[in-house]
Amino acid sequence: MAWQKLSRQRMAQLVVDDIPEGAYVNLGIGMPVMVGECLPKDREIILHSENGILGMGPADTSRPFDTDLVNASRKPVGLVPGASISDHVVSFAMMRGGKLDLTVLGAFQVSGKGDLANWDTGAATNIPSVGGAMDLVVGAKQVYVMMEHNTREGEAKVVDRCSYPLTGAGVVDRIYTDLAIIDVIDGSLTVRGMVEGLTREELQSLTGAPLKFAAQVAVLKN
């Protein structure tokens, strides 16, 4: 049976389905932004932004752009009722101090041990820019990664050992890709879901680290 990659929208939905009510969540830039866009209005999931906003919502587009209400991507945002604003010391106490229930981040690579590389490709021309990623991954109670399973060139992004500079060692708890949902448990990978029609052998061949499979592997459909 032919298989089909999950759409980004579907990946975001799968992440949303796994976030408990009342969770405090920080969403990274890139693909995780879609998780915020997929949150149903009837659920109370409180979004944190590293610049001190707790209770971030969509921007009020009927008002002019207020440069004092932005997220880390320099985009306009809004405040939900119950929101608070604090300074950077307090905001990073939430992050590093283990208060956030979950962060969802994009990644270049994740290793079989849960090492994360998502801030720099190590290219000589890069301007080193880490932002808050290293603080988030050591502090958030759960670290989820959302990324394509393979690069455009077909290389595995789940790897035995990250070739790009690390953001944190052994920090990732779960990986959502366009092919599978993979848990990192005690330094090894266990597949808990994979797209309809894909065989375990095919998934392993597209992955750079050894995979185990849960007793029940969910069938993921678009």
């Binding site: 004092d68 300074d87 590093r96 080193p128 050591v138």
Partner: protein
Amino acid sequence: MLDKTVATLEEAVSGIADGSTILCGGFAGSGIPTELMCALLNQGAKDLTLVSNNAGNGRLGMGELIAAGRVRKMIASYSRSVDPKNPNAAEFAEAYVAGRIELECVPQGTLAERLRAAGAGMGPFFTPTAYGTQLAEGKETRVIDGVGYVLEQPLKAEYAFIKAHQADRWGNLNYRFAGRNFSPVMCMAATTTIAQVDEIVPLGGIAPEYVMTPGIFVQRVVVVKGAQ
């Protein structure tokens, strides 16, 4: 009478010597003391070290200081432009690639905590952030109760440039929304904090429990109407 207000931007940035370290508040376009940086361009100080989350917010202010070769070193968490098609830090990128400016990349929470340590009279501290990464290279590390830590140094400065919303003549400040960001901790970490504000209110005009930066951390206040 204690009055920290000054009449002009020129007066606000007077006396800043070559080689100074200046903390610049702001994050992703909010709370940027653009007019103070523009005034510094005219003032002439050079060989500066700037400490800021980002390395520019368009050309005005920090971008101009960098383009003019006045900044020797940048200490920042995120000095790349967020959107390459609409770069916010083009002048920094150009200077960096040409080898005209030094960069110390610091994780954002570590930057905040290094400033806090300096402001609060603390010494070096251990943080789990960056342990096992290349940003810990060359630094002392230690494993305590099974957790790896990196030893980080306090970061103090001669000056802080701050954008706040309201001030009184004692230097008490408040901020609008996320314009607060690094500003309160930068006020604490600098010897001389210079705040540009939207308006000055009478003493007592900011209710005591809504003062976000107590005036003891602020030395000069200048009004800038319609700031960028």
